[in-house]
């Protein structure tokens, strides 16, 4: 077995091994149990509540939770718009970078408050250090919002009848300070000692050995990088994201960054098991997600290691696999592993350029985002999975002729309607917007020639990928797409907004409605949800609803390209 494969196996084993204790810790945080970090965090949290003017003991209904979330997110959008359109004269701009245009600022603000981090700009030339620090703030608190809202759903799934589900601000502050902050702090320290810059100084000039004068961009990268990886944010400090040697200097930093991507998403599943005291259910969910993850991962790694068939025909050996858009210090296996990590979890950072992935790898990366719940984003990944569980409960109960019940609560027409709308929203957003952009492009290919960097099927994949990434709140891209135009900035902005808030509102509504209902104790007639049979049922629903709706579109893009290379 070669060292590249060994590296990715080790990364996976390590992330699961770390996620299990972290999940228990997260469970304790939302259950308000004591942890060994209380002596530091109790005073800190109290400062947040006091200065925020919040009564953290006040109980909220599911509607009040949503109102609190939407209000604070709206405020973040306004602040972000102001900073991004005024960066040029605001402080902390040593490189003299310009302010953003209105449409680009709209896209970027939406992108960062929705935890997407799609970037139609390049960090080196399009963002001041103040801008970067403000974006880093959203990377903390938009992730905190996602975890907090998942905590609300966890509370609603408990075995009791309840109108109220805890306090939103309390979940939010505790997510930021007790989960994200310590992890970000520790990994940031690791990064600064391993070659990632952390400085407020601007560009430096270096004379290369061949005598060229080279400008070298720097900045407060390490702090930004740490939370970018942990909060499933993914927006790079530099244009090349974690392929940049300052944002990912070595294989060791690459391992820590890769592990950071999936750590909290996996831990959330075990946190659920701890909070509900249903470990078996957590293991079933973890099993289904892992199965899906592996089904995407294995063919991608094989495809990248085998390299590009067209280059092989030129008589070149590809011992390292497909190397276009990849860095030698990571190699093709670790790059393929990152690609599937980042797309399954709605992270969206990259350590290799996805536009240059071999066709099938590009497809599996897209499928990861289309399903968007194999581990998924911090918090929201579970919400997507929750919808599939509700659907699976309904379908399998009808198959055996029972009243659909989920964790002791009757699932009725209203909840099913919401679940169906949310399940179909994602394919709807992606397919409609991709067909719209294809229509515009094909009507006037000369005027829009700047859109696509590649012709034919791959060009279609670039558009499909962009909207998939937006709707999944992922943020990675086939970056050959010339996306800093009003059309792309505004259209993907709208898709990101709908792809973020509707899939939060839906599951919270369902969970809130279910929580109000009478609890029915488990009996012989109850459909068991913590069995592997039910796990397979969830998997089948995901395959039918999510994967198959995209099959025709994938045929036009990556699948056709794959056969053209044969």
């Amino acid at each position: 077995m070669n060292t590249e494969i060994l590296g990715i196996i080790f990364m996976y084993v390590l992330v699961v091994a770390l996620a299990i204790p972290l999940g228990r810790y997260i469970g304790k945080i939302f259950n308000d149990e004591n942890t060994w970090l209380d002596s530091i965090f109790n005073p800190l949290d109290n400062a947040f509540y006091k200065i925020g003017g919040i009564d953290s003991q006040q109980q909220m209904t599911w509607k009040q939770h949503l109102m609190a979330l939407l209000t604070i997110n709206g405020l973040w959008f306004l602040i972000c718009m102001f900073v991004l359109t005024n960066m040029s004269w605001l402080p902390l701009n040593p490189d003299g970078n310009p302010s953003m245009t209105g449409d680009l600022a709209f896209n970027t603000s939406v992108s960062f408050i929705t935890n997407t981090n799609l970037q139609d700009y390049s960090g080196e030339s399009g963002m001041s250090y103040l801008g970067q620090l403000v974006l880093m703030l959203w990377q903390f608190i938009s992730a905190g919002c996602g975890i907090a809202i998942a905590a609300v759903v966890f509370m609603a799934m408990k075995e009791k009848t309840s109108e109220t589900l805890g306090n939103f601000y309390r979940f939010f502050v505790r997510s930021c300070t007790r989960i994200l902050l310590p992890l970000a702090f520790v990994t940031a320290i690791f990064y600064v000692f391993n070659g990632v810059p952390m400085t407020m100084e601007g560009k430096d000039t270096m004379i290369s050995m061949q005598g060229d004068s080279v400008q070298v961009s720097r900045g407060p990268v390490a702090g930004f990088l740490a939370i970018k990886q942990l909060g499933t944010n993914g927006g790079g400090f530099f244009g090349a994201n974690s392929a940049h040697p300052f944002e990912n200097p070595s294989y060791a930093t690459n391992m820590v960054e890769t592990i950071s991507i999936m750590l909290i998403p996996i831990a959330m599943i075990f946190a659920l098991g701890y909070i509900l005291k249903r470990k078996r259910l957590a293991y079933i969910i973890f099993g289904v997600m892992t199965l899906g993850f592996l089904l995407l991962l294995v063919p991608t790694v094989i495809s990248e290691i085998n390299g590009n068939h067209a280059i092989e025909k030129m008589g070149i050996t590809q011992n390292m696999g497909s190397m276009e858009g990849k860095e030698v210090r990571f190699g093709s296996a670790a790059s393929a592993y990152w690609a599937i990590n980042t797309t399954c979890t709605s992270n969206g950072s990259v350590n290799a350029m996805h536009d240059s992935l071999t066709p099938l790898s590009g497809m599996f990366a897209m499928l990861g985002m289309m399903i968007n719940s194999f581990y998924g984003g911090v918090g929201v990944g579970f919400l997507n999975f929750y919808i599939f569980m509700i659907l699976a409960v309904f379908i399998s109960s009808l198959m055996v002729g029972r009243t659909p019940e989920f964790l002791g609560k009757k699932v009725e027409a209203k909840e099913m309607k919401i679940a169906m709308i949310i399940a179909l929203l994602h394919p709807f957003l992606i397919l409609v917007s991709t067909s719209l952009s294809s229509y515009i492009f094909t009507n006037n290919p000369t005027e829009y020639a700047g859109w696509l960097a590649n012709p034919g099927n791959h060009g279609f994949s670039e558009m499909l990928y962009q909207f998939t990434s937006s709707s999944a709140n992922n943020g990675s891209g086939f970056e050959g797409l010339g996306d800093n135009t009003p059309f792309w900035n505004i259209s993907t902005g709208i898709v990101m907004l709908m792809g973020r808030y509707l899939p939060i509102i839906g599951p919270v509504a369902i969970a809130g409605i279910l929580a109000r209902k009478k609890f029915i104790p488990e009996s012989a007639g109850t459909l068991k949800t913590d069995t592997s049979t039910f796990g397979l049922m969830i998997f089948a629903v995901i395959a039918l609803v999510a994967a198959l709706s995209f099959f025709p579109a994938l045929t036009l893009g990556p699948i056709a390209e794959y056969f053209s290379l044969k």
Binding site: T71, V192, R329
Partner: protein, 186 residues
């Protein structure tokens, strides 16, 4: 709405102070304890300073050449080529790189050229090449510099960075360090 707006404003301001401010300052403070104070790792030779992680454009025959770059090693504008695997223009470009390499390195078998030497990296700043990528250039450099091939091979072996703990990842060569060692070898 009203009950939420004031807590939202106050909480956001404090979050900004804490996460953008205090957190950043703390990491900046810790970075002062790293080599070169968190300004990026550097390497100095003959009074000249280079960033050891930032790849440089090496195109001259007397140096070990670095990988192709979509941005010509512009460290203030990193990017990959973003060319798809089936793009005909891209494939023609790769073919041209192979032909150029064959001209500059006579007597080399085409099958010995590793793919990293004819493909552009993700960042455009890749500081590394594969070990095969260095070895395939030895013949040319031996001729240009009049150094024996054995000595160059020794140099390459010395500069080879093994996988992490010998177990994980790739073997690689930092082109800058190899060329600095080559210059020192005179």
């Amino acid at each position: 709405m009203k009950t939420n707006i004031f807590p939202a404003i106050r909480l956001t301001l404090f979050c900004a102070l804490f996460f953008s401010g205090i957190y950043t300052v703390a990491i900046l403070g810790i970075a002062k304890f790293t080599p070169n104070n968190g300004k990026g790792q550097i390497i100095t030779q003959n009074g000249k300073t280079y960033y050891s992680n930032i790849g440089q454009s090496f195109t001259q025959d007397k140096y070990f050449n670095s990988r192709p770059s979509a941005v010509n090693y512009n460290a203030a504008g990193s990017a990959g080529s973003n060319k798809g695997p089936s793009n005909p223009t891209y494939l023609a470009e790769v073919q041209a790189r192979i032909d150029t390499f064959m001209v500059h390195n006579p007597g080399i078998n085409k099958a010995d050229i590793p793919s990293d030497l004819v493909t552009a990296s993700g960042s455009g700043l890749d500081p590394n090449i594969s070990v095969e990528g260095a070895k395939v250039q030895i013949k040319r450099i031996a001729k240009v510099r009049n150094i024996s091939e054995e000595k160059l091979l020794e140099l390459v072996d010395k500069q080879t960075e093994k996988p992490l703990f010998g177990l994980m990842g790739t073997s690689k060569i930092n082109v800058l360090k190899l060329n600095l060692a080559l210059e020192n070898n005179k």
